[in-house]
Structures are given as structure tokens and as C-alpha cells.
Amino acid sequence: MSLGQRVSSDHQLTRLLQIGVVLEELVESRAAHHIESLPPEERAEFDEEVEELLAEAATESAEHRERLEALIDDLEAETVGYEEINALVDAQYGPPEDTDGVLYDQLANEETAYKFYDDLIEAIEASESEFAVDRERLLETLYSIREEEKEGVEEVTEVMEQRA
């Protein structure tokens, strides 16, 4: 058991980036499921702003995934495809009760992603290991994704406050 919070090898880094990809795929898939799962009367109430928020979250996740996959490619590893994660989401999915439930789930998605990148950055910064990907490019990519996740948390919170 390693008690140190640091990334010490390419292998470990790859695995963490793969987990990042899965988290992004989860956001994308759950956002799509939320829109589909709402009953018609809820969907009518599901205002444009919320729908736009989910669509944006899905697009942003797909873009984050591509950036992580480019790093994983350089580490000469594979990722898990979206369809596979979407099928797993499908198998276990329990739709939220209403629009507020959807927003809470979306907030949890964004907060989790932010926390994940924040911990990953800290663990990379704490390590003196050389990686097969350029350290600066790796960290720049993760800083920028983390920033976008932070903005995502703020956007969802804003919509929730407006609805309250």
C-alpha cells in the first residue's frame, strides 16, 4: 500500500488519465440519459437554459476526453470507448425524480471532475518522476481542464440559484 499522494510512474499516470476519460464519459452519458428520462410534463418544464447546460456539459466532456486521450496516446496506452461506458450507465441508471434532481446530479458530476483533476495535479506536482509525456504539456492540459470544471460548477450553481 502506498501512502504517498504522488504519481510515480507512466503506468500509474496512464491509469489515472484513463479514469479521467471514464469520468468525462460518465458526464456525457448521464447528461444524455437525464434529458431522455424526464416524463413529458417535466420535459416541457425543462427550460431551455437547463437543456443548454446539459448539452454544453456533454460537448465539453467530449472535448476534455479528446485532450486526455491525446496524452494517453503518447503514453502508448488505450482508453475505454464511450459506447462501453454508455452501456454501463444504461444498465445501472436510475433517473432523478425531477429537474432539480438532474441539476444536483450535474453539480455532483462537475464537482467530482474538479476534485479529481485537482488531486491529480497535486499528485503530479508532488512527484519528481520523469514521464513519457512532456510534464509542462501534461500539467497545462490538466490546469485548463480543471479551470473549465470549476466554471462548470459555477454555471450549474447559478442556474440552481435562479430556480430556487
Binding site: M1, S2, L3, G4, Q5, V7, Q12, R15, L16, Q18, I19, V22, L23, L26, R30, A77, E78, T79, V80, I85, L88, V89, A91, Q92, A108, N109, E111, T112, K115, F116, D119, L120, A123
Partner: protein, 144 residues
Amino acid sequence: MNTADQYLKAIYLAQRIEDGPASTGTLADLLEVSPASVNEMIGKLEERELVDHEKYKGASLTDEGLERAHNALQTYCIIERFLANVLEVEEFRDEARALESVIDDTVAERLDTIIDRPAQCPDCFDAEQDCCELLELEASGRAD
């Protein structure tokens, strides 16, 4: 998972293995740290009333410590199951140990939404085998 939670999980597993208080030696082996580090941390956990420590016998979890150890073991089980069944990693035990300090509980909760975890988790965790006794493994690795 933070260091305190990793210790509580190890104490829980050591108590199951030893069928009694967790000895410093067993904890040092499980955590791959020195006995001095174990004793230092046990003292801190005792101050926080998460652990009772009896000289020459070992450490036992308090009710609050047990609850936290359960949660930590569930998080660990999620990581193992995710690695084994979603990423199809053969060496999932070693990798879970290497990753647990970097994976936060909230991240594990999200990963939990796509894995199949028995309702009795973590009681079905086999301390000797270092994995859930109900875990079904895929035939081959893929995402390596």
C-alpha cells in the same frame, strides 16, 4: 482516500485476519511502513477517538472508527472492481493499492454508478485475498 482512512481500513482488515486487536507488525506489513510510523499514527487516531490501543495487544476500532473503516473499504472495493471489471486490469489489487491515495471518495462514488457492487459490501471483502470474495473476473486484460 486520506492517510487516516487508509490506516483505519488496515486496522479493520488486520482485526479480521488476527481475530482480535491489530498488532503493530501486521499493520506495518499491510501498509508497507515502519512500526514507528504505525505507532505514531495509532496515537493520533486514539486522540481522535477512532481507535483504542492496548499496550502489548494492539489497536481496535471504536464504533466511529469502524464506520469510517467500512466507508474506506467500500471505496477501496469500488476502485478494485472498477479496475478489474471496467478497465479489465489483471493486477487490480496492486494497482488499487497504488491509486487509493489519489482517488477521492466522491470520485469513487461516481465510478460506483457503473459497477455492480453487492449490497453486503464491505462484509464480503476477503482480507487474506485482498479483494471481494464475490468479485467475478474477466478472462483477459484490455486497457493495459
